[in-house]
Symmetry: C2
């Protein structure tokens, strides 16, 4: 039944040979790598607006200069990543670049930042997408958490199926978003040029001044607005997916993407500013801008819907990247190996599930509020940027090559700019949530370290080094059969025990006083040659007295061998029948295997099942 | 750590010999068996009031005649149970009497009714007790669910410890309640005699008329008011606990208890009626009566507090009875045998936990509202009454003996009265919750039957009948060792397999293409004599290809024996390390033992652990 449901949702298993490697042309590559970057304007604009609106109309006037500053930063970071693409044609993710150039610890910090970043990108994109939808349909506003979780579930199932069709299906929302948004911005620019800035009367009442306009307030708005840049690193990770010449094509796609990001960001923030758009509490600022330009009709709804779609696709990029980085880390023994295993559909199933659960937890804990998630998000993103670009500076110093000084300068400028932003975000947003990321990153690094150490120790302990070249099997000295009574279920166990050892003993733990004598009589009728020991259990525990008996007889024989436990177990045909039996065999097995951990004293347990027919 | 916590809460284990049998004198016996019966007035009064108040002041005037009718019913039922006590001196619970005289099905219906009854008694008593407390402290009114659950937890822990001190500790609340309540009623009666019925001005505004005063409304009030009688059967179950002459002492105690019940019930309902007491929505009618008589001072608080205490003790009687009836049913194979096992503290631990969970579920589902639980409660109680008394009629017809006709007449009258009440309750309260009990009782009976049938089948299948008198052990034909690689963890497994069988094969399931050849080379270095088979797994599943291999080779050999699987398993030292390994050994064991159920084809699995040192 469960298997059927799984087949329906996820699809049947695929053979390993079906792994396909497609190369993407620039049109498809842009659609594959840009949604995260392009859709960032949705929440970045909103953050700048929310950061400034508390200082009233005077505050909102600073949106334009802040937007231009962020656009400048974007140019520096884009140049920096352009160089990473040419420096690491096989894919230069932050973890790889930082680990190769700065060392293991910075590499692990970058990895931790990246993993957190991917989870937050999924949570932020989904909640921002739902906010865009709920801006158009205000009755949905109270249900944003449920809607975000429903979208998350949908994406998770799609990714567990495996995205055979990534390029084509994903391209639709991206180009729809680009087409509609750029048209709207062009229309707005023409309107602005023809009509001039809109009269204040069209806008609702000017927002009240809640806080004085200070430098700190402007830095806050700048810090969170920088999330407009998140996703710009995606192409540098994916160079191998491009058609050759890979680095050139990837580089050109990056330039196009950065230009589009800049146009969308500067365009929307400029129009918001010059039309004096102000948003209601249950509406995003971009929705207010679209409504101001297009009214409430079909064009407005198309804009909001394409925003939701592109943000959903952006969340989806986390589902490609998180499991991949998780698998790379697991391959380096920093994370559990289960993250490396390809599932039935040739995707990293465990990584996808882990990401989905973490994202759901974030959405729930932060009540589906994009604004509350942003401080956590910015830290992770800018930490990864800074480490990756610092790594590139070291890379150029090591590699040299033609014009390396200029390249090092550009990457250095990128590292400096993103590092400064990182410090601003960390300080100005520390209390509003950045502390969580600051706290979690070292915890992740610690976990990476412990996991690696464990695998190393296991490897050493499992080494065959030092064993004598020829080992001779020794027959088991003694076999012990714990019995619950004399019945058909123990027959096979007795026969097997007799076949492997000349010294067989049965043990009956007597819980009800007097039951032992009865069992002994029955036993002697069937196996008079095999001794039965009755162990009293004054406290009615089964496992304790049995273990004590085993230890005592092992100590008595003192032949360097532990008795083999031959365990009769009867297996029911239906699951609910298990509720009607005491499951003592499972308890005994668990106690023998896991209860006492003494290296070198390995007690063998033989399971002798007896299957009930009904 | 967990064991420490358990020791602190529950106490250390007690040896089986510590089981004690104390005999109770009448004073202690009254305290032990009466709390449920005496405290019933708390909710019965409340139900009559709530049933009548919707018809306004005119409706409330019927409280007195309804109360007297119920008191008459009480006399009939008490006489009926007096005879049960003498008819079944070894304890005549409804299940025993119904099963012995009416047959198995009526017995099981009575048992189902009883179990439901005990759960509902616990839920109703706790919520009513908390309502008494919250009437005195209105700020507690919104927290009634939490308070009920906290009290439930307390009682559960106390019962898991085992009540060594039952008689003495329980006697305090019971006699405190009797003393304070009877004094208050006497004071009220004197006050009524001196001052006459109170002026209407003292009462709050008369309640509005919401429904017309119909016969149906009166029957509703009567039906739920009958819950005043619940608990009267307790003494008939507990005759063996009395000092000899057991039946005489038990009978006399029953008479005293019935008189006290009648006095409390008729007294409180009469005073409420004649003083024209009306209760606010967040107060019980008994609290309103006590406030009317005693004011808001200390005497009032003592009354409310002793009501809470006696109701808590009443809930506690379920914790004595439910596990006992559960154990009796389990002893007759109608319920899982786990309910029969005495825990560390010589109590039926599983029954106590089951009761606590069911009660908590009821409190949560019904939002801690006594009023919503009452319809479910009344059905179970009156069904058990009716079956038990009908059983007694049959008993007298079979036994005859001196004056049996009169005895049969009294029990017949009891059966008729309670049966009629049962029909009234079932019809008038069907829609408000009685349907749940009506539905659940047959489900329980069905479960009893299925469980019994399963145990019977198991017993037949486990019978040694028909086995040849002498069985000769046969050496295992083949041993198969599934390996995950060539490392120290498999050495013991190979040695053991070689010691028990001349025909050993190792199997490696190849998930990553090409890994098999590497493993084969390593294997041949160490065990050139033992063949290693590499099984490809195109769908990357481990268990599937292994099972197919085993089935295929078993079919090939066709020697009537299945290969023994010798399974190397490495055991980590810390629980979290399990997260870092694939747990394939557990998966394989589960698949071999439980996955395929073919009777007669029992595959042995040998667990060969290798304990990691760190």
């Amino acid at each position: 039944m469960l298997l059927h449901l799984k087949d329906l949702l996820i699809g049947p298993a695929l053979p390993t040979q079906a792994t396909a490697h497609k190369e993407l042309n620039k049109i498809r590559a842009l659609a594959a790598f840009s949604p995260d970057a392009l859709s960032s304007i949705a929440y970045a604009n909103q953050e700048i607006y929310l950061g400034l609106v508390v200082a009233g109309t005077a505050g909102l006037r600073y949106a334009w200069p802040i937007g231009l500053t962020i656009a400048g930063l974007l140019i520096i970071v884009a140049i920096s990543y352009y160089q990473t693409i040419h420096g690491y044609p096989s894919g230069g993710g932050s973890y790889i670049v930082a680990r190769a150039n700065l060392g293991t610890l910075p590499g692990l910090i970058a990895a931790a930042a990246l993993l957190i970043d991917y989870v937050l990108n999924a949570a932020v994109s989904l909640t921002a997408g739902v906010a865009a939808l709920a801006s158009a349909f205000p009755m949905l506003w109270p249900y944003r958490i449920v809607l975000s979780l429903a979208l998350l579930l949908l994406i998770t199932v799609i990714n567990l199926r495996g995205l055979q069709e990534t390029g084509t299906v994903m391209a639709v929302p991206v180009y729809l978003f680009l087409g509609t948004y750029l048209s709207m911005l062009a229309y707005g620019a023409v309107k602005l040029w023809l009509e001039g800035p809109g009269p204040a009367a069209l806008a609702p009442a000017p927002p009240p001044v809640l806080e004085p306009l200070t430098l700190v307030l402007l830095l806050h708005a700048f810090a969170t607005g920088c999330t407009a840049m998140t996703g710009i690193e995606a192409i540098s990770n994916g160079v191998p997916a491009f058609k050759p010449p890979k680095s050139d094509n990837a580089g050109r796609t990056l330039v196009i993407m950065a230009l589009l990001m800049g146009a969308l960001f500067v365009g929307s923030i400029g129009l918001t500013q010059f039309f004096g758009v102000v948003a209601a509490p249950d509406e995003t600022i971009l929705s207010a801008l679209a409504r101001r330009l297009l009214g409430n009709g079909a064009p407005y709804l198309v804009i909001q819907f394409s925003t939701l779609l592109v943000l959903t696709v952006a969340a989806n990029t986390s589902f490609a990247d998180f499991p991949r980085v998780g698998a790379i880390l697991a391959g380096d023994d920093f994370l559990p190996r289960q993250l490396r295993g390809l599932g039935d559909r040739l995707v990293f199933t465990n990584g996808i599930i882990l990401l989905a659960l973490s994202t759901a937890a974030l959405i729930l804990v932060f009540s589906g509020e994009t604004h509350s998630l942003i401080p956590l998000f910015a830290i992770g993103a800018f930490l990864a940027f800074t480490l990756s670009q610092s790594g590139m500076v070291v890379h150029w110093f090591r590699e040299k090559g033609p014009g390396w000084e200029l390249k090092a300068f550009f990457n250095g400028a990128g590292a400096l700019a993103t590092g400064t932003t990182l410090v601003i975000v960390a300080i100005s947003k520390f209390a509003s949530g950045a502390w969580i990321t600051v706290l979690v990153i070292p915890i992740f690094v610690l976990i990476f370290d412990r996991v690696r150490r464990h695998y190393k120790q296991v490897k050493q302990q499992l080494s065959l080094h030092g064993l004598p070249p020829s080992l001779r099997p020794v027959s088991p000295a003694r076999a012990v059969i714990p019995i619950s009574g004399v019945h058909r279920g123990i027959v096979n166990a007795v026969l097997f025990a007799q076949s492997i050892s000349p010294n067989v003993t049965a043990v009956y733990v007597e819980i009800e006083p007097g039951a032992g004598a009865r069992v002994k009589d029955e036993w002697n009728e069937w196996w008079p040659d095999v001794p039965l020991v009755v162990v009293p259990s004054p406290y009615r525990s089964l496992v304790g007295p049995l273990l004590e008996y085993l230890d005592a007889t092992d100590a008595e024989h003192n032949d360097g061998q532990l008795a083999v436990v031959v365990l009769p177990e009867f297996v029911t045909t239906k699951w609910w029948q298990n509720l009607l039996h005491n499951q003592t065999a499972i308890l005994i097995k668990a106690a023998l295997l896991y209860g006492r951990r003494r290296a070198g004293a390995e007690r063998l347990v033989v399971d002798v099942p007896y299957h009930l027919r009904t």
